[in-house]
Every structure is written in structure tokens, then in C-alpha cells.
Amino acid sequence: MTGMFAHDALLVSLFAVLFGAVIGTLGIRGHRQDWVQLAFGSVYANFVLVTIATLAMIYALVTHDYSVSYVAQVGSNETPLFYTVISLWGALEGSILFWAWVLGAYSTAVIWINRKRAGNLVPWAAVTLLVVALFFAILLVWPANPFHSVFPVPSDGPGPNPLLQNHILMAVHPPLLYLGYVGMSVPFAFAAGAMFSGEVASDDWIRISRTWTMIAWGFLSAAIIAGMWWSYEVLGWGGYWAWDPVENASFLPWLTATAYLHSVMVQERRGMLKLWNLNLMVGTFVLTILGTFLTRSGILSSVHAFTTGTIGYYFLTFIGIVLVWALAMVGGVSDKLKTRGHLESVTSRETVFLFNNLFLTAFMFTVLVGTLFPLVAEALRGVKVTVGQPFFDKMTLPLISALIFLVGVGPALPWGSASRDVLKRKLLPPIAGAVVMGAIGLAVGARNPYAVLIFAFVGYSAFANLREYWIGMKARHAAHGENWGLALTRLVGGNRRRYGGYVAHLGVLLVALGIAASQSFRREREATLEPGQSITVSGHTARLKEVWGRQEPQRAVIGATMEVVENGKVVATADPRMNFYPTQSAPVPTPQVISSISGDLYFNLMAFDQNGSHATVKLIVQPLVPWIWFGGGVVVLGAIIGVFPKRKRRTVPATARQPVPAVPLPLPTTGGGEA
């Protein structure tokens, strides 16, 4: 019954969004404010209805109602409650439902907050969001209906994909990804609204869109890091990024959104790059849909691919409509977007932003071409090929290096034009950071030129960004006599976007450093050990203690206890395992990681003897991996600082101010420090 009821809710929501989109359009055209209000109302109604359907699905999952097709597909009586609930997004239909729910939540929030704004921008944005919601409602009512009734009702199901129930991060990564992906619909809707309403020539609308872009961008950054972390902890090969189509799909919109967050400042300050920003906004949205399409349609081979179905054709149609419509729209308004300002000097922050955008866009196209090339090659030449790591590494490393360098140059340069003197004062001191980090890299044995270069550039840019903080704090300290802590909070509070940006920069640099170090200094060995025997990899020795097994409710677990030995003493133990699920003929590897600030010891159980007399274990030593996760947390922290609303009263005399309690910044929700 739950199934029928929930499906009815989805059907009603389909009509609600359809009605809202039509009445909204008519209302705007006919200047009927009450009709526009009805469109807003259907945004809220859709959210309520999809929420009901989502709760019904969770209820069906928890009560093991196998008459609901989705539950019969991913549920099982043995699965623990927690994994039962998160299997909501474990397979195709459930993830589409969750997607629709996130879209409903975003739409409701953004329309509610801006409902009183004058003009047609918000109504058109609401219509656009309703059209996107219509697409997902169609999917949910027909091809991806998770509430099919199954008859006869099975007594048990196969349970969720074991790879997805093997790690806690699976509870975190997909929701973050959806929050990031779906969040990009909001700025897109406002871009569309600006084009429809003619407000595109003004710059006011980008103030709304840029905040929502930053929110979505923060979620997307967190999702990418969480996804890397998940594949590192679960897949067992000791890597976190393989340029897999699905990984690329999440990375592409991140690149264009990052470009937008920078270039939008050029538009605000100098009135330039309007058309370009519009393209980035629309492109980011198209890339999120493209990413979903690539992962859900199964047209590219990937370890993460969902089951293929007819749903791909719906996505193809939708992406076709969006692409044609968006390009036509942007092309149509392009001559309205007259640039106000112009580039005054090559040595200015806007020039750096131009290069930043150039490189990020080139990066995006490189990844896009590499991802789609197998399809092109098969279409044009009829050969099956894959584009592997070498292509992506070779093509992107120069871009990555350049971008890391620009992270240091941008904040140091002023808007407009910088004199030779300013250039010297700003750009020379960070070289000290570059020299130190480059030397450290060489000293610990980095020989790959790119590795050394990235070490040096990370040093340069970290120095430059921290120096901006230092300069600002010093000025406040001198002018207002504030102590350093107060100076820091007031500095950040006074220009959250700017200083949040610098924090995000530092996070990116930490991630880059972690990746450069772990890639350069990764060492691994695989050996068959008897209890008591040990394996040594670059100075780290681990001894096999025993091979053991135990039965858990939903699975059997085989593990090998490894003791890390230093100077004859056991300093840590790890239990790499294999989990045997009853519905799977093959066990699921469960590697174990011992992390410290200097790096990871990564253990994976490769094979074992039935009597426990020996086991084959792989040990990978990778320095600085935890810095990647920590850096991801810092990036998110930067986004949170940047999004936080400005304080209302900004120019109160210093004496009249109450002592401001240090603003308790919300901690990053994921990718946090202690790995």
C-alpha cells in the first residue's frame, strides 16, 4: 500500500510542477501577480509531495516491504538498519527520488528567500526550476518508478550492493554529491531567469546566483573529497583517483564552477566577462546533467555505473533540450551584454583571473575530451579504446602546476593596475616559500620535475595567501590596537568572501601537496606470509599475527591481523579483511589504513589459506594522504566562511562595539582533519 500511496504522491507532484510552470509563464506574460504566486506555491507543494514519497520509501525500506520494487531490489532482512536507510540512494530509482527531493528543497529555499523581490527574475527562475523538477517527476512516475508493486511478494531481497554497505562514507558521499550537483540548478535557474526577464544586462542577479553557486560548490568540493576517500578506503588498490568517467563527471562541473566563482568577481568589479560568466553558469548546469547522464545511462564503461535501462533515453532527450535551449538563449542575448570596463593593465588581478579561467576551462575540456573520446573513437573509427591515466596525467599536470602558481599570484595583485614597485613587493617574498618547499621536495627524494614544481608552487602560494592574512591583521593591529585574535576575526568578518577564498586556497594547496607527495613516494609490496613472518616497505615493517574468521549477522568476515613493528615493539595493528556476503559469490575486500600526520600504511588482504597457515597481504606506504582529506575540510571551511551572510552594521565606531565573541564557525561536515 505504501507503494501505491507514494506513487500517487509523485503523480500529483508531476501535475503540480506542470501546472506551476504553465501558470507561472502565463502569469509573467499577462502580468498576473496572483498567478505567479500560484507558481511559487507549486514549488512548495512539489517539495511537500516529494518529501512524502521519500519518507514513504524510507518507511518501506525500514519495514522490509518487498512489495515495493525498489525494496525488493536493494533490501534484505539481514542488512543493519543504518545501511537499510542509506540504500535509499544505493541504486538508480532511489537516487533519482532523492535527487528530486534535494531539488525540491533547494527550490523551496531559494524561492522563499527571494519571493518578495521585484521584477520577473525570481518568477522566471521559479519556472525554470519547475521545468527541471518536471523532468525528474516524469522519470519517477514512469521509467524510474521506485514504487512498482512486485507480485508475488518475495520474502527477502538480495540486500544493497556490498561495496556500498561496506563503509560509512557511503552515507556521506552521495548526499553531498547531490547537494552539490542539484545546487547548480539554482544559479542556472537565475541565469535563465535573467535572460528571460531581460535583467541579464544588469549585474544585480549575479549577487543571488553567486551565493548559491558557492553553497553548491562547497558541497561539491566536499563530495569529491569524500568520494576519493571512499574509493581509497573501500576499493583496495590504495588509490583515490583513477580518472574514471564517473569521477570525471563530478569533477567537470567543479572546474567550471570554480572558474565562475573567480570570474564573477571581474564582472562585479569591472563589468567585464558578462557573456563568459553566463556561459560558465549554463555550462556548469549542463555538465551536472551530463554527469548524471553518463553515470546513469551506462554509455561509458565505469566501475561505478548503475544498471542500464530505458532511463538513458529520457536523459538524452532532456540533455538535448537543455543544451539546445541554453545555447540558443545565450546566443540570443549575447549582443545585450556590453562590457562596461576594459583591461587596464596586464599586471592586475583581473588578468590573473583571466588566466585562471583559461586554464580551468582548458582543464575541463581536457577531462571532457578524455572522458568522451572512447565514444568518439568508436563512432568514427569503430575501435574500442580506453583513455587511461597517462593521457590525463600528461595533459593536466602542466595546467595543475600553473593553476597552483596562480593561487599565489592572484591574491597578491591589486585590481586595475600594479606598479613595478608593488609587483616586486608582493611577488618576490613568496619565492622564499617556493625555495623552502622545493628544497624539501628534493631532499626527501622527489625527482619528477612536476612533483618538484608542484612542491615549490605550493610553497609559493601558501606563503602568498598566508601573507595576505598577515598584512591585513598587522594593519588592524596597528590602526585599532586590536589583539591578534580579534584582528583576525574582524578581518575575516569584514570581507568574508575574500578571506574565505584564501582559506579555500590553503585547502586546495594542502590537497595538492598530499596528492603530489603520495603519488611521488608511494611504495608497495605484496607477499605471502605465515604467522610470525613480516613484510617491509620503505622502512615500515609489519608482521602477520594470525588469520581469523568470524560470523556476523549479515556477513562472514575473514581477517589478517598485522602488527606494525618498530624497534622490536608492536606500535599498531591493522586487520585487513574480506567480507563474504551471502548474496555474493565473491568476497568484498576491506582494506585497513593506519594513518598518521606523515602518511598512511595501507593494508589489503589479497588471499588467505583455509587453515589460516598463511595469507597474502599487500602493504602500501603513502606519505601525506591524510592531508588530502584535511585539505578538503579546509576548502569546505573556506566556502562556509565565504557564504556566511555579512554582518548588518559594519561601520560602528570601534569604541561603541561590544566585544564580539569569536564567531563559532561551523565545522566542516566532512573530510575533517583527524583521518
Binding site: G549, R550, A556, Q584, S585, A586, Q610
Partner: protein, 147 residues
């Protein structure tokens, strides 16, 4: 030339260079996906270039030495068979008769030296094959040991 034409020229040159770089990078770095039959049909051209070989593991040809970690097996489509050597434990899901993709190079000794072994697993859930129940692999371990 006007400023506008300069800008267009610069953009064209940039895009062309970038496209050329991409094209060159792709040409050098794509890995062909071949079946044993296609690989054998390439003759001398098939030697010593990175390839992904896809096919079925021939039952009865899998040999693994747990001491030296040497793994060998044969991969077949219906008309060609290639011997594959690899160092390392077989993936935990490895079973004779299943689809695999091996990455590596086909040597002049007609042995495919694999650097990477990927198991093709369908989205469906498979119960154990008769005689290959996982329980038989681990039940001796579960009885008499401590976690």
C-alpha cells in the same frame, strides 16, 4: 589589424594549439580494447603496445603460486586464446569462466604480461557455484579462532 581581430586571432591560435595538444596526447595514450582473436590478428603490430584484453578465463588454466605470487591463466573469446602472466594475488572475485579484462602488453614470446587485472562483474547478484561455496573457503577459520 583592429583590436577585435587581434583578439580573434589570439583565440583561434590558442584553441588550435590546445586542440593539437589534446589530439597528440590522445593518439599516444589511448589503449585499445581487444579480444584475444583481434589481438592475435594484429600479428607483429600487436606486440609490446599497451592493450586491454577482454575475454573469458579458460577453466582449468589458472595457476597461482602463493609463494612467488606468480599468476597465469588463459583468456579466450571463442576463436582465440592468449596466455596471460601476472604477478600478484588474483582478485578476490576471480573465478574460472568469468569475464576479465587484463591490461598489459603482449610480448614476442606470445605471453601477455599483465600489469592490471579487472574482473567484469555484472550488476546482478550471484550466489556461489556448487562446490565453490565461500563458506567452504572460510568455515574452518571461523570455528576455532578469535576475532
Amino acid at each position: 589589424m583592429s583590436k577585435r581581430n587581434w583578439a580573434i586571432l589570439v583565440a583561434v591560435v590558442l584553441v588550435a594549439t590546445f586542440g593539437w595538444l589534446l589530439y597528440g596526447g590522445l593518439n599516444k595514450n589511448v589503449v585499445f580494447f581487444l579480444t584475444p582473436k583481434e589481438l592475435l590478428a594484429k600479428g607483429a603490430d600487436g606486440y609490446d603496445v599497451p592493450v586491454r584484453l577482454g575475454g573469458m578465463v579458460v577453466p582449468g588454466t589458472v595457476q597461482w603460486d602463493e609463494k612467488t605470487l606468480h599468476l597465469q591463466f588463459k583468456v579466450t573469446d571463442d576463436s582465440g586464446t592468449v596466455l596471460v602472466h601476472e604477478t600478484g594475488a588474483p582478485p578476490q572475485m576471480f573465478q574460472p569462466g568469468m569475464g576479465v579484462v587484463v591490461e598489459g602488453k603482449f610480448g614476442r614470446d606470445n605471453v601477455f604480461q599483465a600489469t592490471n587485472l579487472m574482473v567484469k562483474h555484472s550488476n546482478e547478484y550471484h550466489p556461489p557455484k556448487p562446490g565453490e561455496k565461500p563458506e567452504e573457503m572460510y568455515k574452518t577459520l571461523i570455528k576455532g579462532s578469535t576475532p
